[in-house]
Symmetry: none
Subunit: 228 residues, 2 copies
DNA sequence: TTCATGGTTCGATGATAGTCGAAGCCTCTA
DNA sequence: TAGAGGCTTCGACTATCATCGAACCATGAA
């Protein structure tokens, strides 16, 4: 038996997909509840609870009780830095969670990322809003302009209601098939919901694919044109 | 399911005790055969073979055939750096394989980190160069000054030759025992080699410890004094 | 108190993956 | 050509652990 820091233990703690998903979700810096983390990881709360106690036992997480909620955050910056370093290494070795390559064109075209639109159309949506100055700011940190709010209200989205929610309205998400930014956050969710509500698109069961109808496709193009 | 670098996969690859032992053994910078690595990890060669193919599949290892032997090394510096960072995190959370033993002080004083000097003396080296303005720049991104080049040439290091190599000459690496920056990259390698070449120090077999002789110790202090 | 919501604990199940014996492949040596 | 050493492949066994249903605990609201 050797001596020194136990990277095997650390690795195995990070090495479970559910736990890794939770850690990545917490990389946003936000404090999340056990229930939220469970949904991020796609598991039940019981399972999440077990994972969370392991992560906390390894010193990677900190919890803060507040009423009947328990908010979890990464323990400190060092944890985030190591995770970031591991992401870099994984990326440079081609260790990706989705295999690049046009294996499933429909998936690359439009899919769900959490609860917002990703893929080709997700990127197009973001670009269109930005080019027409309905969004302002950088790729990673942006807000709605007044024109943007009006545009979204016209589309039937209650922007004020979104702003009353806890999570940020505008949030970016890096698209690994396109290697571009698309829209996440409360607005991303609201937009996808609205597309489905308008009958433009629907979720394909048992997959992440979002299927647009012919009419929906057209409507999407009119509302979110590519300027090029 | 999210997208992005698969840190869960990377973590699970590192997260097996046998594989972690092999990786740590390779942190010495030496090329080891499958049989040697098996004995390091305390497993049979069959099992080791399976582990090695996994490590190689994840891009963490490189193998070089030579006769009937297969020599394994870490794929590159980035792997070593992430491992070192994980060691630091594990150490700071108290995730240790054994309680600190008698070998520990020597290991903290001077050890090999892949192919450069780490520990107490590694940090001292970096500090000394920086304080005397032989290096310029930040902790993470720095270059040699003209005075620095001259100093190193006097020490018998062919800086120009280093610059012809592909990998960066100056690169920092976080030290897990000191939680400070020390010197990695081509220059880090060259410096350690030079210390050994000058007879100041030698590698202790079967460990990562670098043992300085009394004379070597003195010479090191004269060349890399602490200002404090 | 009663009810609802957020979380944890317990127990059973199922899948994954680490392990080694045996056999086979490859390469160098004689 | 035979033999030996280094390493991989195959197959079977086993232990670990993630998972979820059900029950339980805790906090806040009515």
């Amino acid at each position: 038996m050797k001596e020194g820091p136990d990277i095997a233990l650390l690795g195995s703690v990070i090495g479970d997909p559910a736990r890794a998903n939770m850690l990545i979700a917490l990389m946003s810096g936000k404090a999340l509840t056990a229930t939220e983390l469970a949904s991020e990881a796609g598991i039940t709360v019981q399972t999440a609870s077990s994972h969370l106690s392991k992560l906390e036992g390894a010193g990677l997480l900190q919890q803060r009780k507040q009423g009947r909620h328990r908010y979890f955050t990464l323990a400190d910056d060092e944890v985030a830095q190591v995770l970031e370093a591991m992401m870099g290494l994984a990326a440079s070795r081609g260790l990706m969670r989705t295999r690049p390559g046009p294996k499933d064109p429909a998936l690359r075209r439009a899919r769900v990322c959490y609860n917002h639109l990703a893929g080709d159309l997700g990127v197009q949506l973001f670009d269109s809003l930005q080019q027409r100055q309905l969004l302002t700011g950088s790729e990673t940190d942006f807000t709605l302009t007044d024109a943007g709010r009006e545009f979204l209200e016209d589309l039937g989205i209650d922007v004020e209601a979104l702003e009353r929610e806890r999570r940020p309205v505008c949030k970016s998400c890096l698209d690994w098939s396109e290697r571009r930014t698309h829209m996440a956050g409360a607005l991303g969710t609201a937009l996808l919901d609205r597309f489905i509500g308008l009958g433009w698109a629907e979720r394909v069961p048992k997959s992440r694919i979002i299927s647009f109808s012919a009419k929906g496709q057209k409507a999407f193009e009119t509302h979110f044109p590519t300027v090029n």
